[in-house]
Amino acid sequence: MRRKGVKAVPATMAGGGNNEEELSPDDEHIISASEEEDGSDDESKHAKLLEAISSLGKRKRMKRTERSEASVQVSEFSVNADGTGEKVNLSDLLGTMDKTPGAPNKTKQQLKNLQNRKETLELPLSKQQTEKIQREVAYDKSSKEVSRWETVITQNQKAEQLVFPLRQDPTGPKRMEQVVAGWKAKTPLEKEIFSLLHSNNQPIHDPLLTPAEEASIKAMSLEEAKIRQAEFRKARVLQSYYEAKARRERKIKSKKYHKLQKKAKVKAFLKQFDEMMKTDPAGALEELKKMELSRMQERMSLKHQNSGKWAKSKAIMAKYDDAARKAMQEQLEMNKQLTQKLVVPSDDDDDEERNVEEADALPDFVNDPEPILDSVNPWMRGKLTQEHSEPEVTAVATETAVETKDEGQNGQREDEEEEENEEEKLLREFERKRKLRQDEDDDLVPVPQEEKQVIPVDVAEAEEVAGENVIQISDDEDKEEEEEEVVVSEFNSLFNRLMKSSSVPPVPEQTGAEEAELLDEGLVRVRTMDDLEALQQDVVMDTTQPAPASATPAPSMETTSEPPKKKKKKKGIDPNEVLTKEAKVIKMPLAPTVVEEEEEEVHAEQTAIIKEAFAGDDVISDFLKDKRKQEKAGQAEVVDLTLPGWGEWGGVGLKPSKRKRRKFRLKAPAPPLRKDQNLPDVIISEKRNSSVANHQVSQLPFPFQNSTQFESCVRFPVGQTWNTQTTFRKLTAPKVVTKMGAIIEPMSKEDLPPVKESSGAGSGATIVLGEKVEEETKKARRRNPLQKKKKKSRQ
């Protein structure tokens, strides 16, 4: 009976204001509120009664309310919202307050006070005014918000250069994980590689274990597997270490380091070889064969012929650079060593030809006088070609040599004697040839015959060698070759040392010949000068010098490199036939030398010529006249205003008085001193030039404060002519740089500097601070290892 309760409360509070309320006699009977309202009508009461009686026997049911009368409040819950329109007054509530004993006196008092108050509240502001206030507040807020950008904007305005778009991905190296994570095979080549890797069961992403390894591990017991896995891991790690080490070493640019490394290798090899000689002669023989092969290859190739790019560059530098010269020489020596046969001096004609070629191609200082061993060959051919089983002979020779080295000098003397004999023969023959050559008139008949005999054999040999060479190259790798070369050259040098001890010592006059060469060059260069007399003198010197040099045949051959060539042609040897490859000719730029000799004479001549040319005009006097005229024009003139006969007697023969003349002659003030007063050979005109004025700035432009500022700004040149490349680039950097085809987005809130206010965006600020702290700690961490390293290095 909640409904009743609800109704009852207002009734009691209102003091029983509603009398119409009637309850039906039967409690079970539910009567709707609307029906109760028209209770006064008797007829209706009667009808109701009848209805109630008729419905007694039936089931109870709720009756729907029907709206029969217009009323303001209609409850949707079919309840007559009676009294809802009426307001509940405070006094209504307070009426009960007095009666309730539980309420405290204090609140009662307060309520009474409230009731007694008669003042009214102020009227609320008009709509317009409230809106205005709202707008003002909102505007202040937004303008404050917008002002945050001020720093960024002023910064951008002051910036020397702005690069748009502002937010660009940081260029430079990325972290490994980033790169790897985002990488996928895209191009067909990559895909192919991937498919290959897949098909060969190679690990692709995380190279821990290949499938095969995993399978083998699976087949084992757990402990074994663990051990194996550890082994695998270790192996991998070691491999990676070695790889890293090799990579690092390969990257070392120091030539000295590599040289030392090579030397160490060679030494090790030599040691090994020595041991081999003792223990395994067959192996040693094979090694020797290898060396022989490499010798052949060297002869075939242009590797150390100073024909490559490097050699050319060095040749350019060689003029000025000792190191370059040395390097070239070293290379040539390497060539020599490699191409030298290990046996008794028995070089092919090839070498000789090549040497001659080199003499042409290379600067002379590079061509040291070679040991007789090499230079002698053409006249040795007859003997050399007889011996065809070269490798065996060399092997024997080396063995013998080593034996002699090890055991003592018992057998050596005999060998030496033999060799000496051979040498003597060679020398003799050599000298004979030279003499024959030097008288240019007659061609030698017997020599070409000899050579003709030799050539075909040699060519055939060369071809054979070439064939071998091809195979060899296909088999071996370059690196190994190089190493071998080094080893072989080392060996050859060893042998040479042995041989030299027995052979004829080098002729001391050769150094003198070298100097003569240098002088000779100088004289040649003089030819380019116009000074004929000097040249003639030098030529005389030239002719005198070769005479003593002719005593020693070798240097003279080298100094006059062209004539022998001619002779050879006459003899019928075509270098193209003999040489398997052509050595390139390097042309040397001549060092620009100027000989200033007899300067005075030249000067005198010059002055004479000038005098002759300008015989007619007297420039100096003209100039002086000009200057005097200018000076006069600049001087202030005296204006004479005396009028004869004014205040005096006038007439023929009468002059104005002295006093009057003094009075009426007006002297203008003296002009300022001329700037060229003390400069006898200069005229400085101080007139304003109107054509120049057109190009001058008449007013001080806006941003400048004074003229000196502006002038200094203009005076400072920007161009490349006056500035280095970097300064030029800096000075001419454009103010705004945009990237082609990139959309420039407007500034966004990420560009704002973080706010340091604690109240407004507290959380954001703290986060940023946290990041900063992290960054700093990271930086500190980064710094620390460096410091540690430094400490280590100090230790």
């Binding site: 937004s142 917008v146 702005l162 350019i316 000025y320 990139a742 959309i743």
Partner: protein, 445 residues
């Protein structure tokens, strides 16, 4: 015999590798290179001459519309796509690199009043005289399918302008009120009105993305905050502003194009006086757009010209016109800061270079260095009369030139009169009013 040998260190001229640039020995001794100022001056003069010779700003014209072009919009994410709406309700989408129309849509009946691309570039919105707001897909429909808008919103009054939020799915329209819409709803989430019956333009601030500004027909410019229920502030100027544009790099600056031939740049925090008054046009300015770098803006005018102003300069640095170009109604600056697009009455969209003498395409480093040097020289000697004379010379059509002269005379006369009045009245009674102060009538809070 005295032998003199000229010897040089190879380090000075020998390259270490062939990839290095050729070493050229240089001596920077100033005594060897005299007359630097005069030499550079000559170079600067030549540079300015060359710049003027190569100043050929017109790139292309896109024709295809059958009525005057009323509005232009850039694609938000693609440089080569431009949208245009014409007075016959047609919208065309252009490919700039091919210079051809990709798509034509009959979007509205009557004018297309406004067009804007969504921030992601996937769709665009148009408003027209038929009281509708339509959203269209940027992708063309499949073969054989009709061009259908994604959404259509029917309004009570004509919408005259539209702009999209920079990062969110809301947009603003203006007509009788300024309405903020959510893309998902068919009724505005907020509508502002402040005693005005029509607006001509509404623009979002691209930096502070919640702020808006609009130009109203009662000569006022009103600022709004999307988050507030009421507008922020209103300036009333002497004549009506047609459009306005916010500076994309400076959150509080915007420029409005006015009917009194001028443009005004305002700082939204100090609205009582414009920061700069930009004068040069000789007729009403109809549209304005900022360069994406925020350093310059371009304005389109009824006087058939386009002018480019530096943002803090009172006069234009460049004027573009062609014989056939009529009243320019809309103008846009491309997002890569290289081009300007203008749509005009005679149904053409024209593509201009933003920097008239710029060489298009890739430049070699040497070219770049030379251009930079020339630019630097021009800047350095810009105050010299000859350089300035050449650099500032522009050709104008005769009638424009006459109008300009006339305006100048009028202005001078007014100034003289004011001076005279001041001279002949009680000191202090006729205050000196600066040019900036003249144009703002009042600021309403």
């Amino acid at each position: 015999m005295k032998v003199k040998v000229l010897c040089r260190n190879p380090d000075d001229y020998v390259r270490e590798t062939t990839r290095d640039i050729q070493r050229v020995p240089r001596n920077y001794d100033p005594t060897i290179h005299p007359f630097e100022v005069s030499r550079e001056y000559t170079r600067a003069l030549n540079a300015t001459k060359l710049e003027r010779i190569f100043a050929k700003p017109f790139v292309a014209s896109l024709d295809g519309h059958r009525d005057g072009i009323n509005c232009l919009a850039k694609h938000a994410k693609t440089l080569s796509v431009v949208l245009s709406g014409a007075c016959d309700g047609e919208v065309k989408i252009w490919n700039l690199s091919k210079r051809e129309c990709m798509r034509t849509i009959q979007a509205h009946e009557g004018f297309v009043r406004g067009i804007c691309s969504r921030f992601c570039g996937s769709s665009f919105f148009t408003v027209g005289d038929d009281k509708t707001v339509k959203q269209w897909n940027m992708e063309p429909p499949g073969r054989g399918l009709q061009e259908e808008p994604l959404n259509t919103i029917l309004g009570k009054a004509v919408y005259t302008g539209i702009d999209h939020h920079q990062t969110e799915g809301t947009f603003a329209t203006c007509g009788q009120t300024v309405d903020i819409w959510d893309e998902q709803r068919s009724s505005p989430i907020r509508s502002f009105s402040w005693g005005v019956d029509s607006f001509s333009c509404v623009r979002y601030n691209p930096v502070e993305t919640e702020l808006l500004a609009s130009c109203a027909s009662d000569r006022s410019i009103i600022l709004y905050d999307m988050r507030e229920s009421a507008p922020l502030k209103k300036i009333i100027m002497q004549l009506r502003s047609n459009t306005l544009c916010w500076n994309p790099m400076e959150a509080y600056n915007f420029t409005c194009s006015n009917e009194d031939y001028n443009l005004y740049t305002y700082d939204m925090r100090r609205l009582d006086v414009p920061v700069t008054v930009h004068m040069d046009h000789v007729s009403a300015v109809l549209d304005v757009d900022y360069s994406p770098t925020g350093k310059e803006f371009v304005s389109a005018s009824f006087d058939k010209t386009i002018r480019i102003f530096p943002k803090n300069s009172g006069h234009s640095r460049e004027v573009y016109h062609t014989k056939r170009m009529q009243h320019v109604i809309c103008v846009k600056w491309s997002a890569d800061n290289k081009y300007i697009l203008s749509g005009s009455d005679e149904m053409n969209i024209r593509l201009w270079k933003a920097n008239a003498s710029e060489k298009l395409g890739l430049l070699t480093p040497r070219e770049k260095a030379a251009l930079n040097y020339n630019q630097k020289l021009r800047d350095k000697f810009q105050h010299h009369p000859q350089v300035r004379r050449i650099a500032r010379h522009r050709h104008l059509p005769r009638d424009l030139f006459k109008q300009k002269r006339e305006l100048r005379e009028m202005k001078e006369a007014r100034r003289r009169k004011a001076q005279n009045v001041r001279k002949h009245s009680k000191p202090g009674s006729v205050p000196l009013v600066t040019e900036k102060e003249k144009h703002v009538v009042s600021v309403v809070e």
